[in-house]
């Protein structure tokens, strides 16, 4: 017979054995890794052989093959250095193949991308792609139906900005400006008219306006190429095939001229800048937005140029970026600066009023008295103190419910959603919209963002704000209209930058130049309300008020300063010209500018980010939008939302008959002769040292056909104008010679017969001698003449 002690010990032993067995079973359990399926394969080909400009896009051509049943899969591209992924949701046909272009938003240092195909979180296929950042290098796209070979300078022969050419078939040209953003220059070779779609052309135009340099090859195929291009990109009509004069080419490249140079006769538009012979120029140029178009008379792939010793220097100089921007490093178009400003604008968070807490505090003080001495006294009187175990929780929960209800009823917004949108008109029916989206939340949160358009999204460029750093959200940045999922860290202002080409009818805006004044006429043809519409140029911003759809407004351009009078506003940034009073009022002692005004300031700066020191190089129509044409729907109920959107369009300048061009409209042209600029009470000028100082003044492109009859030229300087030893000359475009003027400055020069000196809307002035003592030289003209 077993004793109770033995039974007890056995029971304890049995329990220990069972427990150990359970433990062993638990420890033996392992997780099975997710296995990839072999039915789906992918082949990834990065554009530009994987080379990319920092903080730009890299299009990836992806071919998916599916041996299994149809499936909806996510194709994503990730970098270990970039927080969010770019992705696309695609329906993969069963037993079929599918091609797509995935846009990867790059940083400045990623060297490998992982492209995955996933379904419900399971990786079906993966490919790693080697990529390489190219900071301070010119990535050149050679777009042609036939191989286009240029004799480019070798990397080791250049001190800076080496060239990296990549051949691109016309049909492979990205259909989004984002896809072209890595390219500094695009050279178009033979281009059959049918090869480019409207999307290609809109992207190309938007890319140029953002700062790209488009070079259109000439030769026998020029007429066909031109037929494929929209009007703003066509600079000259193509004429007969001739042997071009190669001498200017030799001079341009500092080399002996090449041999026979076959090309076509270019008939440049009046607002372009031809180079070479006046009858058959070698090329002509026009600035478009922040970018440039160069149209060649000769085929860039000519065999003559392949063997010519001056070819490397020619291409080094001809295929130059329009501007070099300094952001974090080198940037060869204005997109980076604009993206930086749009991200920074998110830092101006709206003011959210704190709820009144006094009633709640009063309730809680009363509660404290009730729950402690009040309840104890009551129960003591009843001699039922044990009831406290029920009464106290009941009272706490009851008062708690009332207090919670009171709190929730007057609760403030917890999260903030800010959208800052810049919409720039590209052509008559298309605009480029860039929207920075910022989210601020007190807890780690995932947001779903519906995108009302075919946009691509990229991480926000890091920026600093008063609240703290602005950075990119994590998550999946889906393209082609799919919803984004943004993972936002608590108390970090994070988000994404979205961009798309959107359908937007162009604003009908005109500046009518007359004999005595300039009239403004704007009709809102965009189909959406426009707020506080203004036309800005040359230091003025004429307000036209709000415009409902189809509503029109007119105004007269304000009288400008007469020659000799100070014109400081001409050197004022556009944002100050437009928002001056509001900014000044907000920055007065004891006050702060409204956050919306600060966002507007940032947006105006972004609109002219590619220009010089925040000024518009051409007349602009500016209007604030109630809603973006690229709508973003952030699923964040109860969040405080803030949206500020700016539409930037270009008015046409028209007229007929006698016309007077106001002072300040003819602006310094800096494109081909970079020289430091300076500012002073007479606006923007040029540093005259070293002499000679050549100043080219140009009218807006629409006034290129203006036939000047007389001109008043006003020359001023910051330091006293040297009394002697200065020669002043004007360039006679008809004879190609400099004509000396009798001028002992400073002050005005009346030119009675201005026709020879103003051609294509340009006037060129040369000051030599002791002019370098003047520190900063300003030139202003008032032109009178006829507009055809």
């Amino acid at each position: 017979m077993k004793t109770p002690g033995i039974i007890r010990r056995r029971a304890i032993h049995a329990a220990i054995v069972m427990a150990l067995a359970l433990l062993a079973g638990t420890l033996a359990g392992t997780h099975q890794p997710v296995r990839a399926q072999d039915e789906v394969t992918l082949a990834v080909t990065p554009a530009f052989e994987g080379n990319y400009a920092p903080d730009r896009w890299l299009p990836l051509s992806i071919v998916l093959r599916n041996a299994g049943p149809p499936a909806r899969v996510t194709v994503a591209v990730a970098s270990p250095l970039i927080r969010p992924r770019n992705s696309a949701l695609v329906d993969l046909p069963g037993g079929g193949e599918l091609s797509l272009t995935l846009y990867a938003a790059m940083d400045r240092s990623t060297r490998e991308l992982a492209v995955t195909v996933e379904r419900a979180g399971v990786v079906l296929a993966e490919q790693r792609v080697a990529v390489r950042p190219r900071e301070g290098e010119r990535i050149i796209g050679l777009v042609s139906t036939r191989p286009l070979v240029l004799r480019l300078p070798r990397r080791e022969d250049l001190a800076a900005l080496p060239l990296l050419p990549f051949a691109i078939a016309p049909e492979q040209l990205p259909e989004r400006p984002a896809g072209l953003a890595s390219l500094a220059v695009i050279v178009l070779g033979d281009l059959p008219a049918q090869r480019l779609t409207p999307a290609h052309l809109a992207a190309l135009q938007a890319w140029v306006r953002a700062g790209g340099h488009l070079v259109i090859g000439g030769g026998a195929g020029l007429a066909t190429t031109l037929a494929a291009l929209p009007a703003p990109l066509r600079l000259a009509e193509s004429g007969a095939v001739i042997a071009l004069d190669p001498q200017p080419l030799g001079a341009f490249a500092d080399a002996p001229p090449p041999g026979a140079l076959q090309g076509v006769v270019l008939r440049p538009a009046p607002d372009t800048r031809p180079f070479g012979s006046s009858t058959a120029p070698l090329w002509t140029r026009r600035d478009l937005g922040a970018g440039r178009v160069t149209q060649l008379a000769f085929d860039p792939g000519l065999s003559t140029l392949q063997t010519w010793s001056g070819a490397p220097a020619l291409w080094d100089r001809l295929l130059s970026p329009v501007r070099i921007y300094r952001t974090v490093g080198f940037d060869l178009n204005g997109d980076g600066v604009q993206a930086q400003i749009l991200a920074s604008a998110l830092g101006y968070l709206p003011v959210i009023a704190l709820p009144d807490s006094t009633p709640l505090f009063a309730l809680l003080v009363t509660y404290t008295v009730l729950i402690g001495p009040g309840l104890a006294l009551l129960l003591h009187r009843m001699d039922r103190q044990e009831l406290g175990w029920i009464a106290l929780p009941a009272l706490a929960l009851g008062i708690g419910a009332i207090a919670l209800g009171l709190a929730l009823a007057s609760r403030a917004d917890e999260r903030i959603v800010t959208q800052v949108a810049l919409v720039e008109q590209v052509d008559d029916a298309t605009a480029r919209a860039r929207t920075s989206l910022g989210l601020l939340t007190p807890r780690d949160e995932r947001f779903t963002v519906g995108v009302g358009g075919d946009a691509v999204a990229r991480p926000l460029l890091p920026a600093a704000a008063r609240f703290g750093a602005i950075d990119s959200a994590g998550g999946d940045l889906a393209q082609e209209g799919a919803a984004l999922t943004l993972e936002v860290n608590r108390w970090r202002l994070e988000g994404a930058l979205l961009e798309a080409l959107v359908d937007l009818p162009a604003l009908d805006a005109q500046l009518q130049v007359g004999a005595d004044d300039v009239k403004l006429a704007v009709r809102n043809t965009t189909g959406r309300p426009l707020r506080d519409v203004r036309v800005a140029y040359a230091g003025h911003a004429v307000a036209l008020g709000d415009l409902a759809p189809d509503e029109a407004a007119t105004a007269t351009w304000p009288p400008t300063a007469r020659p000799g009078e100070p014109r400081p506003q001409e050197a004022t940034p556009l944002s100050v010209v437009v928002l001056g009073e509001q900014l000044v009022a907000g920055r007065a002692p004891g006050s702060a500018p409204e956050r919306r005004i600060l966002i507007r300031e940032a947006l105006l700066n972004a609109a002219v980010a590619a220009g010089i020191e925040g000024q518009a190089p051409e007349p602009l129509v500016l209007a604030w939008l109630d809603a973006s044409p690229l709508p973003l729907n952030v699923e964040a109920p109860g969040a405080a939302t803030q949206y500020v959107g700016l539409l930037v369009a270009r008015p046409r300048i028209t007229g007929g008959g006698a016309a007077t061009i106001p002072a300040g409209w003819m602006q310094l042209e800096l494109a081909d002769a970079p020289r430091p600029t300076c500012t002073g009470e007479f606006g923007r000028g040029l540093v005259p040292a070293p002499a000679p100082l050549i100043m080219t003044l140009a009218l807006p492109a629409d006034l290129a056909t203006f036939a000047a009859t007389s001109a008043t030229l006003d020359l001023q300087s910051t330091r006293p104008w040297p009394g002697a030893g200065i020669t002043t000359e004007l360039f006679n475009w008809q004879t190609g010679a400099w004509v000396p003027l009798s001028f002992d400055g400073p002050g005005t020069i009346a030119i009675n017969d201005a026709a020879p000196f103003v051609q294509g809307g340009r006037l060129r002035l040369r000051l030599d001698g002791r002019i370098d003592e003047a520190e900063c030289v300003f030139a202003t003209t008032v032109l009178r003449g006829v507009l055809p």
Binding site: I352, T368, G372
Partner: protein, 326 residues
């Protein structure tokens, strides 16, 4: 079970009798409310003094202040509810009487412990309406509140068990109180001191979170890390928020894609669970008048409970190991 019920009823009645309980509740709720108001004043005093201030920031700052105040009070109040549980019976010489009843030492201890925990729970419930202040300003979710309440309750149970253990060990209320609070101070202060010493001797790097895993203030600090208001709020005027950094050595980790919060409180809960079981088990032996260390049926029950607890801990390994960055 009848024994347990009778002990429980007696103890529950006795706990609320007299003015001590009412005073404790008033002090507990009142101090927490004063703490909340002070934090509110400190935060809103910064309006217009630099970075923008959002309602959720105010809510989170009040939440941090309230919870830290309540936890500090709970940590030192919880042992007090049980520290005389066994010793009082010896001091009143009622142990022999109890030994003559069918009441087993296990039921006696469990009754004392549950009463102590119930009183701490009552205090927490009494303080609940104060959290409506937090919901007025936002920034804190129900999950955040549940997390901190779980940690407060876990540490309170451990504290009550410690009090009971000290009482059973010394059998004198005075000695038990001294021992209990000495241990508590060593735990709270000692671990923080050790962590900061590690920091000082390691180029001011944050100490490994394991150093403060058993510290109840660090545990609540870790539970609060997800509701920590941004550092743009000046820490000089927000001492509770500044204290979080001190309490939560190494809990906030900078990582790719932002700052990661290690849920150290999960490790703390495991430690408190294990410590409570161990201390209660030891108390079961200590409370016996004779043959203290002989194995009984109570030990088997405790073994089964301990193994079950260990199993749960093992199964939940990924959950709590995340607290150590694993």
């Amino acid at each position: 079970m009848a024994g347990l019920t009778s002990v429980l009823l007696k103890e529950l009645r006795a706990t609320l009798r007299g003015s001590r309980a009412a005073l404790l509740i008033t002090v507990y709720v009142g101090l927490a409310l004063i703490g909340g108001r002070l934090v509110f004043n400190a935060v809103t005093g910064q309006l217009g003094m630099g970075p923008p201030l959002f309602a959720a920031q105010v809510g989170q700052a009040i939440f941090v202040g309230l919870v830290l105040a309540l936890q500090a009070l709970s940590v030192f109040l919880a042992p007090a509810t049980t520290v005389n549980g066994v010793s009082a019976e010896y001091e009143r010489r009622t142990v022999e009487l109890l030994a003559a009843t069918p009441l087993t030492p296990a039921w006696l201890l469990l009754g004392k412990l549950l009463t102590g925990i119930a009183f701490v729970l009552l205090l927490l419930i009494a303080a609940l309406p104060l959290f409506s202040l937090v919901y007025l300003f936002g920034g804190v979710g129900v999950a955040d509140l549940a997390r901190v309440l779980a940690v407060m309750l876990g540490s309170a149970i451990a504290g009550a068990t410690l009090g009971l253990f000290c009482s059973a060990l010394t059998r004198q209320t005075y000695a038990a109180t001294l021992l209990c609070y000495a241990l508590l101070v060593a735990l709270v202060g000692g671990t923080l001191l050790a962590a900061n010493f590690w920091s000082l001797t390691n180029a001011m790097l944050p100490a490994p979170p394991a150093y403060v895993a058993a510290n109840p203030l660090s545990a609540i600090g870790a539970a609060l890390a997800r509701t920590r208001p941004p550092e743009v709020v000046s820490p000089e005027t927000l001492r509770p928020v500044a204290a979080l950094s001190l309490l939560t050595q190494g809990v906030l980790v900078e990582a790719q894609g932002g700052r990661v919060v290690l849920p150290l409180y999960r490790v703390s809960l495991v430690i408190y669970g294990a410590a409570s079981l161990l201390l209660f088990w030891l108390s079961l032996h200590l409370v016996r008048p004779r043959r203290r260390w002989a194995l009984t049926r109570d030990d088997l029950v405790m073994l089964i409970i301990s193994v079950a607890f260990l199993l749960v801990v093992l199964l939940a390994r990924p959950w709590w190991q995340a607290g150590l960055g694993g």
